[in-house]
Amino acid sequence: MLSVAELEVTYANGVKALSRTSVSFERGRFIVLLGTSGAGKSTLLRCLNGLVRPTKGDVLVERRGSIFRSTRTLREHRRQTGMVFQQHHLIGRMTALENVLTGRLAAHGTFRTLLPLARADRILALEALARVGLAERALHRADQLSGGQQQRVGIARAIAQRPEIILADEPVASLDPETAVKVLGDLHRICREDGITTIVSLHQLDLARKFADRIIGLAHGQIAFDGAPSDLGSSVLDKIYKVSSPALLEAAE
């Protein structure tokens, strides 16, 4: 189980993006983060694999403790945590297969990866591509794929890691509504099949309602809602999406 304790993030420019947040994410669940722009969704997700260092507090994994204990524990945690990015973060001139194989890097030592990866890794990568329906595009350059296909390659890269956890930061924000449902559906299906704990930030309420086991609403760097999709009533939505906060109201006066 993954959890954060008393997490606080203040960026170098003084912006406090998360304040004193404690929450745990149960194994195997599909958890959706909601919140307005700037609420702190990306910040929370990036803390969960140490891309952002919390100013205070800690990120803990079952049995292994803090992910920040050493460079090794951090790498080990990242190896077991796949990440899917909004802008897919692929290398355009590499093939889909080569991009997916970067998900296999951490399974090997640096010197081993100077040589081409083994057949077993390539098979794993191809399987991952097949699961998102792109096996026959494996040798196409990433920049010659459509936006939806690129995002699928991003998902394949994450599952090729054989992760326990997948973090996805607005994975469907740049896709049309129809493709968004399909791509998120793929991610949801695969995570269910493999029992992967998945934490996804979304801007689309309907998608959140459709796929989430649990929804966490963030507002102004704090958890404003935590519950089942069925509890997500209009009063709760007001709390998550209303711009006014005590601080803002004060500033307005």
């Binding site: 694999n49 790498r75 945690h77 990242r78 990440m83 692929l90 290398i91 890097l105 994450a158 890691q161």
Partner: protein, 267 residues
């Protein structure tokens, strides 16, 4: 302010900035003219006197004398080998230095700064000077030429490599890092694949340049066809000089087209 008054103000502004532009251009033209004068270009008498000498030289250069062409083959091959060896050496040294000299892959800003300075220093020592030094150190022949070419080129190639690395898209680096890749793996598998086309381009361009430069290096005793060129010049065999220059030109054309072909097929 009425509209027409406002427009007048805008037009006055425009005139002022046009004047500033004109003043700058005149300053540049003046600097050019002054430099030409200072270096004796406007000394008509000197040109008039040199006319006969130039025409004498030109007449001695034609027809080119290719009778000794067989003795030039080996030096030309040496020059080609020097250019390839110099490029290989420059690449092998430049790549690690460039990684340390790019702000996004350098382990520390101090390392980055030291490396940038080192590269600038290497660039600023002309290869002819390096050639003289290496000839003194390791003796005549192709070896000092190769060392001079590569060391000077490290300054240039390393800088271009570092700049290419500096401008990679950071997103795939983050993705690799998020997947647990080590710093070295990030460089090998997220940085280098992105810059490979640029690195190849710079390298091939540098090889073409090395061929031309190694022809000159022979002049200071660093092997190759330049050595023959210098010998012919010393003996005032201007018809052989022109023949050697033409041979070099032919080789440059061949090397450049091989370069163009490589660039296209390595895209």
């Amino acid at each position: 302010m009425t509209p027409s008054r406002a427009f007048d103000a805008i037009l006055a502004d425009e005139r002022r900035s046009a004047m500033r532009g004109a003043a700058l251009v005149s300053l540049i033209v003046l600097a050019c003219l002054f430099s030409l004068w200072a270096t004796g270009f406007f000394d008509a008498q000197r040109f008039a006197e040199s006319g006969p000498a130039i025409s004498q030289l030109a007449s001695e250069m034609v027809p080119p004398d290719f009778s000794r062409w067989q003795t030039w083959l080996r030096p030309l091959a040496d020059t080609l080998a020097m250019s390839i060896a110099g490029t290989a050496l420059a690449v092998v040294i430049s790549l690690p230095l460039a990684i340390l000299a790019a702000p996004n892959t350098s382990p520390h800003p101090a390392v980055y700064f030291v490396l940038r300075t080192l590269l600038a220093f290497l660039r600023s020592v002309p290869e002819l000077i390096l050639g003289v030094l290496f000839v003194a150190a390791v003796g005549f022949g192709a070896l000092p030429g190769v060392l001079a070419l590569s060391l000077h080129s490290v300054g240039m190639v390393g800088k271009f490599y570092a700049e290419a690395i500096e401008h990679v898209d950071p997103k795939p680096l983050e993705a690799a890092r998020a997947a647990g890749a080590s710093d070295m793996q990030v460089i090998l598998h997220a940085v280098l694949p992105q810059v490979l086309p640029q690195l190849t381009d710079v390298t091939i361009y540098r090889w073409e340049y090395h061929f031309r430069a190694s022809a000159v290096l022979g002049i200071v005793g660093a092997g190759g066809i330049g050595f023959e060129l210098m010998a012919a010049l010393r003996l005032l065999n201007y018809d052989q000089v022109s023949a050697i220059l033409l041979s070099i030109l032919a080789c440059v054309v061949v090397v450049d087209s091989i370069g163009a072909f490589l660039r296209k097929s390595l895209k």
